[in-house]
């Protein structure tokens, strides 16, 4: 049946019948092939300075205005005015709208976006830079900045061919403004193929304890020599996370339950990491992780990042949910990581989380939207979101340069989702702007971005990796 559905959707006839066609997405640590067009509203320079720091060449963005339009005649001899087109296609459009304070400024944003809507290459990028609306001052300025979100989310839904649109909000009007070095990792992620399945999202980049060093910002292997712990690493998304972070240089400690040891060993061996079998709900789980790290990486060995990926589902309608189904999901998906964090955050514990460390949780669109038969799971995943926000706002962690973030995956193609009923699965795959399911690597790349040493100014964020799914949006 799955094959039949695939045939129906990938058959050449399908396109003519109007079945949405999935584009093969650009992935990995690669910039778009075409040029990056940059434009600004109201004199903002942060975006351009950030691109300069990254060494990304830019060209001036076209601006659609009545006087720049050209006449075009279609096959039926009808003539109409169309925006000036980019020669060839562009890889990305970056709009610095940090200076946008009036409704008139939004017209400039439109003018910048319009030529790009048909001028982007496959898997092209639209990145709009704004400020946190509540810091914008006058009500009109706040409204203008908030309007950017409506624009970007709509653009994400209109773009085709695997292109994405995202809005980055920075602190500019506050005492501690975001620097180009702090914004760099976010820009690079959004331009790279790594953000393939992230679209229609709003990210906040603030100001961290210290500016990332130039070599951190430009590192091809940002985790080189750093210890990263990944729970639930034996299969599925966790295995993808372990592999992706290892590709970027991480010394991975792959954690999973002893029963999953066969898959765990395979993953650990394939990336030259170590397998640590333990039940994360055990009282001493955090202590055992720290002891393993201290032992294997020496007295100075500390954890750069821990990714709390391990999770379970025990789906049942709430009418049929007993305390065991309820409790086991909350215990594994939420309580365990709270306990482990408490242990690893002890600055004096050998093998604990290092200053400048990263904690990354895995929430879910189910945690945002809720899901029938998943009250327990949604509780745990919504709990992760609350946890991340609270810890992201904790000044004691900020002082140590520790950031806490989460990803919220939407429909990801795994062994688990492969067992879903065909119709449900097809719907889940299609109801997002990219019209396809994501891959474990898409979640992993996003986690890699949040865990990157250069992402020091990103904390308390929950970033959806859902292809702009309509669920919970």
């Amino acid at each position: 049946m799955a094959d039949l559905m695939q045939l129906l959707t990938t058959n050449p006839l399908a396109k003519q019948l109007g079945v949405p066609q999935a584009t093969r997405l650009r992935r990995g640590r690669a910039l778009p092939s075409g040029p990056v067009a940059a434009g600004a509203v109201g004199g903002g320079t942060l975006a351009v300075r950030t691109l300069e720091l990254l060494g990304v060449p830019t060209r001036a963005a076209l601006v659609d205005q009545p006087q720049t339009r050209v006449s075009e005649t279609d096959g039926d001899g009808r003539t109409r005015e169309v925006p000036e087109a980019y020669p060839g296609s562009i890889g990305a459009l970056v709009v610095d709208a940090t200076g946008a304070t009036s409704i008139a400024d939004l017209e400039v944003v439109r003018g910048l976006l319009r030529p790009a809507m048909k001028g982007l290459e496959r898997s092209g990028r639209v990145v709009v830079l704004g400020v946190e609306p509540e810091t914008a001052g006058a009500p009109t300025a706040v409204a203008t900045q908030q309007a950017l979100e409506g624009i970007v989310r709509s653009v994400g839904k209109e773009l085709r061919g695997g292109a994405t649109a995202n809005l980055v909000r920075v602190d500019l009007l506050t005492a501690e403004p975001t620097s180009p070095a702090e914004l760099a990792s976010t820009f690079l992620f959004l331009l790279h193929g790594r953000s393939a399945y992230v679209s229609g999202q709003v990210l906040h980049v603030g100001h961290g304890a210290r500016d990332p060093q130039a070599e951190e910002v430009l590192a091809d292997r940002p985790f080189e020599g750093r210890v990263v712990v990944v729970t639930g690493a034996g299969r599925g998304i966790g295995a993808g996370i372990a592999r992706t972070l290892a590709r970027d240089g991480a010394l991975v400690v792959a954690v999973d339950v002893p029963a999953g040891g066969q898959g765990l060993a395979e993953v650990a061996n394939s990336i030259g990491g170590t397998a640590l079998q333990l039940d994360i709900t055990a009282a001493d789980a955090g202590a055992r992780i720290a002891a393993h790290v201290a032992q294997r990486f020496g007295g100075m060995g500390r954890i750069h990042a821990i990714v709390h990926n391990a999770g379970i589902t025990r789906d049942k309608l709430l009418a049929n949910t007993d305390e065991e189904r309820w409790g086991s999901v909350l215990e594994v998906n939420l309580a365990a990581q709270i306990r482990i964090n408490q242990v690893l955050l002890d600055a004096d514990l050998p093998g604990g989380l290092d200053d400048g460390g990263r904690i990354v949780g895995v929430a879910s669109t189910s945690g945002i939207a809720g899901n029938r038969g998943q009250a327990n799971y949604a509780a745990s995943k919504a709990g992760v979101i609350g946890l991340v926000r609270a810890m992201g706002a904790d000044p004691r962690l900020a002082e140590r340069g520790i950031t806490v973030n989460a990803v919220a995956p939407g429909f990801i193609e795994t062994e688990m989702t492969g067992r879903m009923p065909v119709a449900t699965r097809e719907v889940a795959r299609r109801i997002n702007s990219l019209q396809q399911g994501g891959r474990p690597v898409d979640v992993a790349e996003t986690i890699g971005y949040l865990a990157d040493p250069a992402s020091s100014a990103v904390t308390g964020e929950v970033l959806r990796v859902c292809g702009q799914s309509q669920i919970g949006a």
Partner: protein
């Protein structure tokens, strides 16, 4: 070669949960089990791509095609292909003998690291063709003309087509191991009740160890098993008392399926190294390999019980090390049968045996039962023949490490052919 011997230390181990014959691993080959166990070990210690000194392992029930079983497992594993390997076989003593072999090479400085252990499948056992058919096939392969080939094959009689069933019997006596042990149990007056008590304790203690997470860093799940398949946490002396004897005859028969080890499938490996190699790899030493001894008895003439060789090996080893039973903190006596353990303990308590057979001045002594097989043994875990030594060495090394430096452990494994392999480890 160095003038001084270096230490050989045990750094850890890995086994797969043991399966019941015909159970979860019914379709798993020795090579598949050994390779997976090796990969689990490599992953635990982060050794992917490393060249180790050597890997030594073996299997008791072995297919002819598996002539290079361990080397094939290494080639299929995440270890560097430049890691040498060989097979070794000493019946149920195989696993422990490989540990002795690798430890000795480390002590001599010939290798700095190694993996030792074994694998066995009672499910995937080789089946041989009858002698008549085998001779005829060999004759046909030597024949030079079609006529001669036809003539050679014509010698096959219908009776030759029946395969030779694998038997768990001693070639020289025709008695199975259980039948041999039944004779020993009767000779030492080992009661049914004592055997069932030992069996129940084995199950309860092994289950408690699994529950406590003791095996989290000693075992890796394989196929659908995450615990030993034959483990019966809920068994009791009462339940075991209900089973009928399967070995021995008549009134005095005491040995049942409950107090004898079942046929099993599984693999177990141990990682050893020199202290220097361990330090370079940031791996903590669990225990030091101290010494080992192998004894053999003349069971063919009936002079001694088939599985009584450890009763001789242990006193010789203790004497060489200047130790007594009281110096031992943990005893690991392989439970081939509950009565094997009990007969061995009885022999050491017997003045007649110790003076007459061992030439001692009096009884060797009494084993403190609270120090015996404290996390269960083969009755509960199962006994894939060549895998048992690796299971015991890794388990004991971890126990000794938990007890602290200087703690001592004794391992005793009886084997077919009237042999017994024993060793002493010391906690680090």
């Amino acid at each position: 070669m160095p003038d001084q011997l270096t230490d050989a230390v045990i750094l850890g181990g890995n086994r797969i949960p043991f399966g019941k014959a015909g159970g979860a691993y019914a379709d798993a080959s020795n090579q598949a089990m050994l390779t997976s166990t090796l990969d689990g070990l490599v992953a635990r210690f982060g050794l992917a791509g490393e060249r180790l000194g050597e890997v030594a392992a073996g299997a008791v029930l072995k297919h002819a095609r598996d002539f290079n079983l361990t080397r094939e497992a290494v080639l299929g594993s995440a270890l560097a292909a430049t890691t040498p390997a060989y097979d070794l076989q000493q019946a149920c003593g195989t696993g422990l003998e490989t540990v002795i072999q690798v430890a000795n090479k480390i002590r001599l400085g010939q290798v700095d690291s190694g993996v030792a252990g074994g694998v066995d499948s009672a499910s995937d056992a080789p089946i041989a063709v009858g002698e008549g058919l085998r001779k005829a096939l060999l004759g046909a392969s030597r024949a030079r003309t079609p006529m001669a080939r036809a003539k050679a094959l014509a010698a096959v009689r219908p009776g030759d087509l029946a395969p030779e069933t694998p038997r768990n019997a001693e070639p020289r006596t025709g008695l199975s191991m259980g039948e041999h042990q039944a004779l020993t149990a009767r000779e030492w007056g080992i009661t049914r009740e004592a055997q069932d008590e030992l069996a129940a304790a084995s199950h309860h203690q092994l289950a408690a160890a699994w529950d406590a997470g003791f095996f989290d860093d000693l075992a890796t799940g394989f196929l659908r098993l995450s615990r030993d398949e034959g483990l019966r946490p809920e068994t009791s002396v009462d339940k075991l008392a209900g089973l009928s004897p399967v070995f021995g005859k008549g009134e005095g028969a005491t040995m049942t399926a409950g107090n004898s080890t079942p046929l099993s499938d599984g693999a177990a490996l141990v990682l050893l190294g020199s202290p220097q190699w361990a330090a370079e790899h940031r791996l903590p030493a669990l225990a030091r390999f101290v010494d080992a001894e192998v004894a053999a008895v003349d069971y063919v003439s009936g002079d001694e019980g088939l599985l009584m060789a450890p009763a001789y090996a242990v006193p010789r080893l203790l004497a060489r090390q200047g130790l007594t039973l009281d110096d031992i903190d943990r005893f690991e006596i392989h439970e081939a049968f509950a009565s094997t353990v009990l007969a061995t303990l009885a022999a050491w308590e017997s003045e007649e045996f110790c003076t007459g057979r061992l030439g001692l001045d009096g009884p060797l002594g009494t084993v403190d039962r609270s120090r015996l097989n404290v996390h269960g043994s083969s009755l509960a875990a199962g006994h894939p023949f060549a895998a048992t030594g690796g299971r015991i060495v890794a388990t004991l090394a971890k126990m000794l490490h938990d007890l602290g430096p200087g703690s001592r452990g004794l391992i005793s494994v009886c084997a077919a052919g009237g042999q017994g392999v024993v060793a002493i480890l010391e906690g680090c």
